[in-house]
Amino acid sequence: MQMGETGVRERRALRPPEEPAESRIDEIIEKYGGERRWLINILFEIQTEYRYLPRKALEYLSQRMDIPLIDIFGIATFYKAFTLQPRGQHTVTVCLGTACHVRGSTDVLEELQRELRVRPGQTTPDQEFSLETVNCLGCCAQGPMVVVDEEYHGQMTPAKVKPLLSAASKKV
């Protein structure tokens, strides 16, 4: 789809993603006693730390926990909660559950795509916003639902998208 000329955001300087520190990853592994069964939790914590799963961190994890790198990548790509791409400062998540769908979540998503000029799963080049979709957040009564970072916004319409993004932009 061709993107319109209506982007609300000014371009910001590209912020390089942080370099993963081995000592921090050691701490996380330690917290779970280095047990293989907590691998998913360990990945969650690494992602919280860096807002994505840096390749270097995964390589180090593989070596430290003695798990083949391919298995770690298998898990990191199987589950939707993980991302191998750096995430933006703010994450905008659109619920595409059935209840939201019948109430018009597709239109909201399309408006977000037009405003941010990215597709779901992508991050704006200035690293400010990542656009994500989710299958159901369980707040079906207030659909269509959009979550910005951890804040829930119910009864969304395409018209509410622009103000929502500019409000998020002001928060750091």
Partner: protein
């Protein structure tokens, strides 16, 4: 917190907490479930506390509780002891509530519920038809307890069932009680819970596990979220009793990542139970050891399937495996494992407390007890509804749900999530239980009821579910991985008006093949949305193919937008908003849409204040 060493200490602990509470005291129950939080309940709570402080009303407690179910009207608040329900409460109302209701004893008319069918104001929560027509055994506790307070759970009789079990019941007696109660799994298939427990108990091996499936992936279902989030101790108590009966020493709660509040509250509840000695070794002096771990899912729908869920707990990819062996024989790390979902576990303490005879009087002949349904979509009263199994679907939709809003017509009700099916409006009197729904090609699933009116296109819905399932298929079975994709291609062709009648035949054939040749529940049931929409709405499919028409006005390729020159004032608002620059016209003159440029996003229609943009 002190450790409770035996059941008498447990009762003493309860008594001391009950004594501190005065039955006539004033308190406010404010829902801070995820739904009400989205409409600003957090800010309401803060404002209310501020105003109470200002008015020096220290005796009035504000309790932040889980979801009472009437999500449509959130933020919700009930003022006790009268039981006055205020709906759509805003932070600005806080001062008024304190001044007029708490101090003045007056009910604020603007904040009470108005019954749309009679236009009458209903002041008390218990008189609202949405509540009065339900039978709330599980959900009724949500607005009574602060999920972060174990004392609250004790105050409503919590852990009494555990005490009863550990104070003289044998595992066989517990299993027998559950069997006689007729409890069936609330996760979808409806397998008898007591039988499952017995099989796991009898399975070989000393190490056994119990698991709580809180990976409520079905879009449109959120009862498990509400129970785990709003009353986590009831789930823990159920699991403790189950573990005792089965002989398990370790339990897992697998919660989906999309429910952060449920993860938080369940984690806290486990900590509290450990501190009280309700989890750990030698629980209540009975020599029964048991502990619970919380595992967070990572966003994979297929992990709701039991074998995939167990793989995920083990820290692997959540890919299902062939059954048998069933988890009750070979589950987590190859050991016998009993999996039940949140709602099933929450029913257990109830049965132990009140007895199997009482429980088995509720429900239909084959399905006992109550079931929580999530009533969502095009319905007036969205929310959670708990009714005895066997209740007519029409009673749920019209009696409790208040029917379809506006002057639209009910078209169908989608039951059971992506694996479920449609119940068309003509079969609306079907009794909702495991067998009743199956007869019409739908299934109970976890209990999501998505209501659809005549502005919903059935082909589009089939496409929606196929897209969903395509994304969520783990890819292990070829027929699921490729079959769903080919079905989606065919349905997409139909929605674009490019299909022939042969394609429809092919779609049906493919659906049957996928159904029969995949391994797990996801694949087996993936064709259901297509098959049931075809069963009841075939003419709609044919209309898309033959007349290239989408009656509901949903399928983009088959609709056009145009501006009514008589209504258009030429304000230019739509032209400014149009992302494609497809709308042109001079100021104060009627505008037109260039159909070639138009991407049919509908922005112009939602922008126009004069109702001049039409869709056909």
């Amino acid at each position: 917190m002190m450790k409770l060493r035996d059941t008498s200490e447990l009762e003493k602990y309860r008594k001391t907490h009950l004594e501190r509470r005065d039955a006539g005291r004033r308190w406010i129950s404010l829902c801070v479930g995820t739904g009400c939080i989205a409409t600003g309940a957090g800010r309401v709570a803060a404002a209310l506390r501020r105003e109470l402080e200002k008015a020096n009303l220290k005796d009035v407690q504000v309790k932040e509780t889980g979801c009472p179910g009437f999500c449509e009207r959130g933020p919700l608040m009930v003022i006790h002891p009268q039981g006055i329900l205020y709906q759509n409460v805003k932070p600005e109302n806080a001062a008024d509530i304190v001044k007029r209701t708490l101090k003045g004893g007056e009910v604020i008319p603007e904040l009470v519920y108005v019954d749309p069918s009679t236009d009458q104001r209903v002041e008390l929560e218990k008189d609202i038809p949405f509540y009065s027509k339900q039978k709330r055994l599980i959900l009724s506790n949500n607005p009574l307890v602060d999920p972060t307070s174990v004392e609250d759970y004790f105050a409503i009789g919590g852990y009494a069932a555990l005490g009863k079990v550990l104070n003289g019941m044998t595992p066989a007696q517990v299993i027998d009680e559950i069997k006689r109660a007729g409890l069936r799994g609330r996760g979808g298939a409806g397998f008898p819970t007591g039988v499952k427990w017995e099989t796991t108990r009898r399975a070989h091996g000393r190490v056994k596990y119990v698991v709580c499936n809180a990976d409520e992936g079905d879009p449109g279902a959120f009862m498990n979220r509400s129970v785990l989030e709003g009353n986590p101790h009831s789930v823990l108590e159920g699991m403790m009793i189950g573990a005792f009966a089965i002989g398990a020493r370790e339990g897992y709660i697998y919660v989906r990542n999309e429910y952060p509040l449920a993860v938080k509250n369940a984690t806290l509840a486990v900590q509290q139970a450990r501190e009280l000695g309700l989890l750990g070794t030698n629980i209540l002096g009975s020599r029964f050891d048991f502990d619970i771990n919380i595992v967070r899912g990572a966003g994979a729908f297929v992990c709701g399937e039991e074998t995939a869920l167990m793989a995920s707990i083990e820290g692997k990819k959540g890919v299902p495996r062939q059954r048998p062996p069933f988890p009750s024989e070979e589950g987590l790390w190859g050991r016998p494992t009993n999996i039940n979902n949140v709602e099933t576990w929450a029913n257990v303490p109830l049965i132990i407390n009140k007895g199997a005879e009482w429980y088995s009087t509720i429900g239909s002949p084959s399905s006992k007890g109550t079931k929580i349904f999530a009533l969502v979509g095009k319905i007036r009263n969205t929310g959670l509804v708990e009714v005895p199994l066997g209740t007519k679907l029409s009673d749920i939709i019209y009696g409790i749900g208040g029917g379809v809003p506006g002057d639209r017509k009910l078209k169908a009700v989608q039951c059971g999530g992506p694996s479920g099916g449609m119940i068309s409006a003509e079969h609306i009197d079907v009794p909702v239980d495991y067998e009743g729904l199956k007869k019409y090609g739908a299934m109970m699933g976890s209990g999501g009821l998505v209501v659809m009116d005549d502005s919903t296109c059935m082909v589009d819905i089939a496409k929606y579910f196929l897209k969903f399932l395509l994304e969520e298929s783990c890819g292990k079975c070829t027929t699921c991985r490729e079959g769903i994709e080919r079905m989606l291609e065919l349905v997409t062709k139909i929605t674009e008006g490019k299909a022939t009648m042969e394609d429809l035949g092919l779609l049906e054939e493919l659906a049957t093949i996928v159904q029969e040749s995949t391994m797990c529940g996801l694949g087996n049931t993936a064709p259901n949305p297509v098959l049931t929409t075809l069963r009841y709405f075939r003419p709609e499919y044919e209309e898309h193919i033959k007349q290239k028409r989408c009656q509901a006005g949903v399928c983009r390729a088959l609709i056009t937008y145009w501006i009514d020159p008589k209504k258009c004032t030429g304000c230019g608002a739509c032209a400014k908003k149009c992302p494609e620059g497809a709308i042109t016209g001079r100021k104060k003159e009627a505008h037109t849409i260039d159909a070639k440029k138009c991407i049919r996003c509908g922005v112009c229609q939602t922008t126009c204040k004069f109702g001049a943009v039409w869709r056909r």
